[in-house]
Amino acid sequence: MNALQELFQNKKQNLLSLFFTAGYPQIDSTAGIIEASRKAGIDFLEVGMPYSDPLADGPVIQQSSTVAIANGMTIEMLFNQLETLKEKTSIPLLLMGYLNPVIQFGTEKFMEKAAACSASGIILPDLPIHEYREEYQTLFEKNNLSPVFLITPHTSDERIKLIDELSNAFIYVVSSAATTGKQQDFGQTQEAYFQRLKAMNLKNPLIGGFGIHNRQTLQQAWQNLNGAICGSAFLKKLATAADAGKAIEMLKEDLGLN
């Protein structure tokens, strides 16, 4: 059992996770963000591996990736940073990124390094499920890493069941069919979607993401799902705040958590 799985055993509701891009705003921001998150009681973190062509992402994450790459961030360097932090931090970590840099790094080596850094799971949104099953699943299992898959309002029940089957930590519930960072409040579509998911009685917790940026969106996710992930909204705060602690404070204010 990895740290993330442990977390979900102990906490079933109102989970809050943050996504940030490694190497943003500074090349060495990661340590501060992780530490501030831990202090602020964030439940788990997704560490984004910056990619030149993040096609599922909106302008905020695109911009953070561009800056991070320009800052010199690489997977190699990220692992080096995480390696030095692993003793200090207890907060469960997931790595999230596009498949290509992982392949170039070497899939097997990537999984081993991730495990060595105490990461609990990996999210590769553009990894096809059939390829996961045929080529990646054993690697994930061998390294005690949880695979996390995305579902959207357009994902069929059948496919959701398959994903539930393959998952062992949580399912990433993309709030609406949209790139990251679309700043709209949730409406009837999301409500119906969340109800549909509830009715399916899935074995994995459901964590909502994409578009969580204020009290309304957070509460709707929390009321219907097990938790929420906040990405673009957090990156925006990071861009302007003095430090990661301040950024989380400002974000919590927006989310109605103070």
Binding site: D53, L99, N100
Partner: protein
């Protein structure tokens, strides 16, 4: 005297133009897409073959190809080129297609599919603007709202096509991200599609993207080689040329021109890619020459990338070839030796455009000029029959030509 040929190609070889069920040509292809795209891509994947093989589709498609696109396009025996290069050189005149390039073949077909699937909006990416114009054109014809994504650098260097798209009623969205060229226009189109999944059809312009796009586009463009074949039988009394030459950006005109000749054991298939200022200059789009296997825009193929797997910016004077990837079919053809790919520099292409204009009275598109430039890189025998896919006309590139030839 023809090149030594394998006159009995195995069935396996013949099938190299079509991917397996999951969209792989050998080890290239597939569909590497986030879940947000899955339903749309899957809907297309599970319908496309049935639709394009239906009698209804074929009838409508073929009528539009004939009366709207202007097919068959001629297979023109280029006497002056033939004399200069010492072979029988034919030009497959895709430049005579309505809107001025081969792009319309695939657009007409895909728009029919979009209509069949009940889609209400069409989006497209474009580099040179030819695919954007073709899409805007067919959308006007079919009364479907159309949005085209185009890098702001390409908007500046392909003005005529921007004006045409607007005249045709399309919305042109200037893409300011990344290199502001085709790669980023494609990113933005995909993002828009993610954000508008319900009734939008993404009409991809080349043999790129997640399965089934490369196969779909190749099949729709295969009318080119089908026509070459029957025209050659008529005009030369043989059913396959010794050479087919085509430029490759994403690879759609090359796929179309190669299609029926792939693996026939008779025809040397020559693709040309844009070397920009030179394959080793750092300013290049020679994807096959400089690329390594990886994933770009939803498929596994060869692409130019850093050792970290970041996609590199391509460079070519030609907006339509200014792309760091190439279609998975071509990556496969290259890897298996079924086709050869030659890099052609900006300067070589510009000179070839001038050469063809003066020799045959045909001003080619800058993209096309890269195929023409290959003539001087090959050693022909006098009886060789070589077909160049003249993928498009140069009207959109006049400004670039003028600037270059004023300078030199």
């Amino acid at each position: 005297m023809t090149v030594k040929t394998d006159t009995n190609p195995t069935e396996e070889k013949r099938k190299q133009n079509i991917p397996d069920e999951r969209g792989y040509y050998g080890s290239f292809g597939g569909a590497y897409i986030p879940e947000m795209l899955y339903p749309n891509v899957d809907e297309l994947r599970s319908n496309y073959l049935q639709v394009i093989e239906s009698a209804e589709f074929r009838k409508e498609f073929e009528l539009l190809l004939r009366d709207y696109v202007g097919r068959p396009t001629p297979l023109y025996y280029a006497g002056n080129l033939s004399e200069t290069y010492g072979a029988k050189i034919y030009l497959k005149r895709e430049d005579l297609c309505h809107t001025g390039a081969h792009k319309l073949n695939s657009v007409v077909g895909q728009a029919l599919i979009a209509r069949h699937l009940g889609k209400k909006n069409i989006i497209a990416e474009t580099g040179a603007g030819q695919h954007g114009v073709a899409t805007a054109t067919v959308c006007a014809l079919m009364k479907i709202p159309c949005t085209v994504f185009m890098g702001s650098k390409d908007i500046a260097r392909q003005q005529p096509n921007v004006l045409r798209m607007k005249m045709l009623g399309a919305e042109v969205i200037a893409v300011e991200s990344g290199s502001k060229t085709l790669k980023d226009a494609t990113n933005e189109a995909i993002r828009h599609w993610i954000n508008h999944p319900d009734d939008t059809y993404y009409l991809i312009g080349s043999t790129i993207g997640p399965h089934p796009y490369p196969d779909l586009v190749a099949r729709l463009q295969s009318v080119i080689s089908q026509e070459i074949q029957s025209q050659l039988i008529n005009q030369e009394g043989k059913d396959a040329p010794d050479y087919v030459l085509a430029c490759a950006g994403g690879g759609s005109n090359a796929a179309g021109a190669f299609f029926h000749f792939i693996g026939n054991g008779k025809t040397r298939l020559i693709g040309t890619e844009a070397a920009g200022e030179g394959v080793d200059s750092g300013l290049t789009a020679a994807t096959i020459y400089r690329g390594t296997p990886g994933i770009i825009h939803g498929c596994k193929t060869l692409l130019m990338q850093t050792s970290d797997g970041q996609v590199m910016e391509a460079h070519s004077v030609s907006a339509g070839l200014d792309y760091p990837g190439i279609g998975p079919l071509h990556a496969h053809l290259h890897t298996t030796g079924l086709a050869q790919f030659l890099p052609v520099t900006d300067t070589e292409a510009l000179e070839a455009a001038q050469m063809l204009s003066r020799a045959e009275g045909i001003i080619p598109a800058l993209e096309t000029a890269h195929a023409v430039a290959a003539l001087s890189k090959l050693q022909f025998k006098p009886d060789d029959v070589a077909v160049i896919c003249l993928s498009g006309r140069g009207d959109k590139d006049l400004q670039t030509y003028q600037q270059y030839f004023q300078k030199t």
